[in-house]
């Protein structure tokens, strides 16, 4: 009984580490930039597909695959930014906070999600492709329990990315511009910041993080499907919400909590119930404590 509990917890941490890394990228786009970019997960999937396609045609090592995934995701993410979000940086849109322009951008980003899925299916038409494994040895033995080594990689990457982002946001000139642009866009323009260039760079950075997450996830699952986009979006968004929409450490914690929640509900209620219970709990949290979502929404709390 207790043994099951412990093993489930370890399994939950494994899944949760992947969610945590996804949630960090989502937090940057949704929580920090306040942009509803629905194609963020799809851009990650496209990056992974880019690497998968390459590995099916050429002999490439793991590191090269990681770089290809990141490059693909950055290209896709920048494309999304230029196409969906860049048209709305005019002074008028920035000043009013423009709900109509943010809805236009959101809908456009959803269209690109569909575009990315189609592109991926055209390039690799089978439903499922193998992805080279991140680690092919035995799982770690902790007494009688097992822990996948990949989850340690993912968790380490999530924490490292968190620290890196914090340093960028609070210790660099670029970070100062990001925070200024989010705080008061017009004042940022008046001190000489180029809003459009700040946004395209932060989207590229978020997509690079997404690419890293996508590579580590694909390499620990050892397979890819076009559903990776949808999967990343759902898991990343849920973990971000649990973490409080805007806090980087919160995103990591939210990812781990979501992983644990899923692992335990799967054990006690069965695999069909796993997602249902996770979503139900998040629904209850948001219905009873909507303030949870807005608690962290200022950049100041991104520490």
């Amino acid at each position: 009984m207790l043994a099951d509990l412990i093993q489930n917890t370890l399994d939950g941490l494994t899944a949760g580490a992947a969610y945590a890394l996804l949630a960090v990228g989502f937090t940057l786009i949704f929580g920090v930039l306040r942009r509803v970019n629905l194609s963020y997960g799809a851009a990650i999937m496209l990056g992974v597909y880019f690497a998968t396609w390459t590995s099916h045609h050429f002999q490439v090592g793991l590191l090269a695959l990681a770089l290809l995934t990141i490059a693909g995701a950055v290209l896709a993410g920048t494309y999304v930014e230029r196409l969906c979000f860049a048209p709305h940086y005019a002074a008028r849109d920035l000043r009013t906070g423009a709900s109509s322009s943010s809805i236009a951008a959101m809908v456009a980003s959803f269209a690109l999600w569909m575009q990315f899925e189609e592109a991926a299916i055209l390039a690799l038409p089978k439903h499922l492709y193998a992805f080279p494994p991140l680690y092919s040895g035995e799982p770690l033995r902790l007494g009688s329990f097992l822990l996948r080594v990949e989850s340690l990689y993912l968790l380490a990457a999530a924490i490292a990315v968190c620290l890196l982002l914090h340093t960028i946001l609070y210790r660099t000139r670029f970070g100062l511009a990001v925070r200024a642009v989010i705080d008061v866009p017009m004042a940022a323009q008046l001190v000489g910041m180029n809003v459009s260039s700040v946004f395209v760079r932060i989207f590229a950075l978020a997509s690079a993080i997404g690419g890293l997450a996508g590579f580590l996830i694909a390499a620990s699952h050892e397979q890819v499907t076009p559903m990776l986009g949808m999967w990343s979006t759902i898991k990343g968004m849920l973990a971000m919400m649990l973490g409080g929409l805007g806090s980087l450490p919160g995103a990591v914690a939210g990812g781990l909590v979501l992983g644990l929640l899923e692992a335990h509900s799967q054990w006690y209620f069965g695999p069909q119930m796993r997602d249902l219970i996770a979503y139900l709990l998040i629904f209850v949290l948001l219905a009873l404590r909507p303030a949870w979502m807005t608690r962290w929404t200022t950049i100041r709390s991104a520490s």
Binding site: A91, G192, N194
Partner: protein, 240 residues
């Protein structure tokens, strides 16, 4: 003296509504030039147009001889123009120190920036006391000081100020105008938009009246009775 800023026939519109209907004026180098007029006359629109936030539909804006009409805001800061905007617009979630650093965003001289921040702290001792506080926690007067200091951090040749006295207590307004004269003495050209015509006329070398998007009077303080200026600045020239 020559015109540092020369605005010629500028038209700026919001959709079909023309807020500026052909504005022509000049700001002499080394002067304090003031723009007075009632609410909705186009004062803020003119400031936003010069700063590049709004694009003029037609007309020319020359700064130091070069055309800047329609240039992006960051290009205009590069040229040496800084705007202290209406309602101050300090960064509420950044500290006072970070607000000042943001003001120096386009500069690369670390030493010079640090020296200028120290200079701002001497000029505005309250900002030094509150250096680590977030901009949003400051009082209205302190935010105005911060907004002015932030604009100065870019070392502008021309400072645009949009209603710096708005919503401030009389003592603070006096302090703001004392600072304006100090900045002018240090060599900054100032183009000031004001509702407070009385205070503005005490510091201005030259002033313009704007009504319904057009310049309707230009002169030195004293060339028009102050009562008349105040009447037209608040109510427009329509006789009751």
């Amino acid at each position: 003296m020559s015109a540092l800023l020369a605005i010629q026939d500028v038209v700026t519109a919001y959709g079909k509504i023309e807020a500026l209907r052909g504005v022509t004026l000049a700001v002499e180098e080394g002067s304090i030039t003031c723009l007075l007029g009632p609410n909705g006359a186009g004062k803020t629109t003119l400031m936003m147009t010069v700063a590049g936030i709004l694009r003029p539909r037609s007309g020319s804006i020359r700064f130091g001889g070069g055309e800047i009409a329609g240039a992006a805001p960051h290009r205009i800061v590069e040229q040496g123009i800084a705007l202290v905007p209406e309602n101050r617009l300090v960064f509420p979630h950044m500290t006072v120190l970070e607000n000042l650093r943001a003001g120096a965003y386009q500069r690369n001289d670390r030493g010079g920036i640090a020296a200028d921040i120290d200079r701002m702290f001497v000029r505005f001792p309250r900002l030094k006391e509150r250096a680590a506080q977030e901009g949003g926690t400051l009082s209205g007067g302190e935010q105005q000081m911060l907004s002015v200091a932030r604009a100065l951090m870019s070392r502008p040749k021309l400072m645009l100020m949009d209603e710096p006295s708005l919503g401030l207590a009389p003592l603070v307004v006096e302090e703001i105008f004392r600072i304006i004269t100090e900045l002018h003495r240090d060599g900054t050209t100032i183009f000031l938009v004001e509702q407070n015509a009385h205070m503005a006329l005490t510091v201005a070398h030259h002033f313009y009246l704007i009504e319904q998007g057009r310049i309707t009077f230009s002169g030195d303080p004293g060339s028009l009775a102050e009562d008349e200026v105040i009447h037209r600045a608040y109510l427009g020239s329509a006789k009751v």
